[in-house]
């Protein structure tokens, strides 16, 4: 009914179907109530608030923008073996053009593009300093330098473009196949794009291989003593992490607690021998719900219920049925899992019940429930996907 009304609202029903819907709305109070709800939904949804994110997140985004999107940059096609001979079509803002034709060996490794007037291309050898905002291509990696960086292309069969020793955005660089680019950042930052990308900060360097892979940045000018100091620092960090792990694990063990024995004076329906019939009666009280398993390896027993209705209110309905069956004084604990497989949605709930909601006992049961039911929930989820 609701889905049909939504299609009616969208004007997707043919005339005969639409007439039928109109007649039902007029004749049936249930259809009329549903129609009012469906009709008001778009406005209600559009009126939902858009709260602002935590300020710390916006500060982080702003900082990222400072680094990542420093200025309008040209879109660079991946590893152009030969850039277009003439200027590219102007972009919507900050028009730029490819440089003049560049004599590049087959299998180009690196190239710096330009977004100003194309310079005269003069090839140079050795290391060069890159200043300002410069874009390089290494393999299919893009490197954006914002600051000052030393670029070294090895082996020596290097083709550098630019008449000046200090390159800037108006120069081109290319290197022959098989070369390796070493990028040492002296000021600012360089971003080597990829998955994952690599940010090389001032005082660090990275090596971009012929295949475009970028090594993890390391401090520039590292000596054996620097390396030893770094290893020592990492070892200290590892010891600290081990200690933290032990503490967290200890806290977790303390929090989860030990398994509970079944009390001798339990009322009927809570003991392993008679738990299942009572759990089954709850399933029978809720539409389209089945009891799929019970577990009584420790106290309290756990019942696993399943529904495939897709009804978002199912867990609430189940909760009400449990309260009705076990009484208001019982402590009821539930864990839920929603499994989606294509358009099919199944919900599974694990339920533990204790006769009286004693605060201390409730805390222990609650803490133990997730680790207790997780293996079974995983199993039931696998079963669900195999259906």
């Amino acid at each position: 009914m609701f889905e049909t009304l939504s299609r009616y609202l969208a004007g997707e029903l043919d005339e005969a179907e639409a007439a039928q819907v109109r007649a039902r709305i007029d004749a049936d109070p249930e259809w009329k109530a549903a129609w009012i709800a469906v009709q008001g939904l778009p406005d209600a949804l559009a009126a939902l608030p858009h709260p602002a994110p935590p300020p710390s997140l916006d500060r982080a985004v702003l900082a990222t923008w400072e680094t990542v999107g420093a200025a309008p940059t040209p879109a660079v096609s991946p590893v152009p073996s030969a850039p277009p001979a003439g200027p590219a079509a102007p972009r919507r803002a900050g028009a730029w053009a490819w440089a003049a034709p560049l004599a590049v060996a087959a299998g180009v490794l690196g190239a710096v593009s330009t977004w100003d007037a194309p310079p005269e291309v003069q090839l140079r050898l050795g290391s060069q300093r890159v200043e300002g905002e410069v874009r390089l291509l290494a393999g299919d990696r893009r490197i954006d330098v914002d600051g000052v960086a030393e670029v070294t292309v090895t082996p020596g069969d290097v083709q550098f473009a630019g008449a000046e020793a200090a390159m800037n955005r108006s120069h081109l660089v290319a290197a022959a196949a098989g070369s390796v680019v070493t990028l040492a950042v002296l000021e600012g930052v360089a971003l080597v794009e990829g998955d994952p990308g690599v940010a090389v900060k001032a005082g660090e360097r990275t090596v971009i291989g012929a295949d475009g892979t970028a090594a993890r940045p390391v401090p520039t000018g590292s000596t054996a003593a620097d390396t030893e100091a770094r290893v020592a620092a990492l070892e200290a960090e590892l010891d600290d992490l081990k200690l933290r792990y032990a503490m967290v694990k200890g806290q977790l063990d303390l929090r989860v607690g030990a398994s509970l024995e079944f009390p001798a004076d339990l009322p009927p329906g809570y003991r392993p021998a008679d738990f299942e019939p009572r759990a089954r009666s709850v399933a029978e009280a809720v539409a389209a719900t089945e009891l799929v398993r019970t577990e009584c390896d420790e106290y309290p027993c756990v019942a696993y219920y399943r529904s495939e209705t897709g009804d978002p209110g199912w867990t609430a309905t189940l909760g009400k049925a449990l309260a009705a069956e076990y009484g208001e004084s019982a402590g009821i604990f539930q864990m839920g899992l929603r499994v989606e497989e294509g358009d099919r949605v199944a919900a599974i709930a694990a339920v533990a019940v204790i006769p009286s909601n004693d605060a201390e006992l409730a805390e222990t049961v609650r803490a133990r429930l997730a680790p207790r039911v997780e293996p079974t929930m995983n199993e039931l989820e696998s079963d669900e996907r195999g259906r």
Partner: protein, 178 residues
């Protein structure tokens, strides 16, 4: 239907152009202007809203040179689409693994929200991921259905079906809780 979705905010796009040009005040303003939109999507659709919020902005900033401030698409639609693709990717990476959560967390919003908006928010939370994405993007953020279909790589008819299923479930929940 396009009349039941939020209008695009075209007037903000010159601000985006200034931000893209490097104006630091404009950048701050763009984040303030569109942050709530991205956050709203993350909060309602992402498994880790804070992580997704930063990842979506990072993707958007990296792709800014492909956004045309004077083109047909508003920045709000553009960034919502980036957010959508990110969440679809995230969803596929998770292989639709269900999340084990205490049911009282699922039930609580249904019981505690006595106002209509709160109940609607809670009902949206209960929708399956695929249906929730369509409702949130289309009705709360004005993303056209054909764009959602393109981002999800499915026919637009599939998206329409999901939309009607989602609206049906939401309306049903609201009626039954009265």
């Amino acid at each position: 239907m396009s009349s039941d979705v939020r209008p695009h905010r075209m007037e903000t796009d010159p601000l985006v152009a200034r931000a893209v040009g490097g104006d630091p005040l404009a950048r701050r303003a763009v984040i303030q202007q569109f942050g709530p939109l991205v956050w709203s999507i993350c909060r309602r659709l992402a498994s880790d809203p804070e992580d997704s919020y930063q990842a979506i902005w990072e993707k958007a900033l990296k792709a800014l040179d492909r956004f045309d401030p004077y083109g047909a698409a508003a920045f709000s639609t553009w960034i919502a689409s980036i957010a959508h693709r990110h969440l679809v990717d995230e969803h596929r990476r998770r292989q639709v693994r269900g999340t084990l959560v205490p049911v009282d967390e699922l039930v609580a919003p249904m019981v505690e929200h006595d106002d209509r908006m709160g109940r609607l928010e809670a009902a949206i939370e209960q929708l399956p991921d695929g249906l929730r994405r369509v409702v949130v993007l289309h009705h709360l953020h004005g993303v056209p259905l054909d764009r959602i279909a393109a981002d999800e790589d499915v026919p637009v008819g599939t998206i329409k079906s999901r939309l009607h299923r989602a609206r049906g479930l939401l309306a049903q929940t609201l009626v039954e809780e009265r």
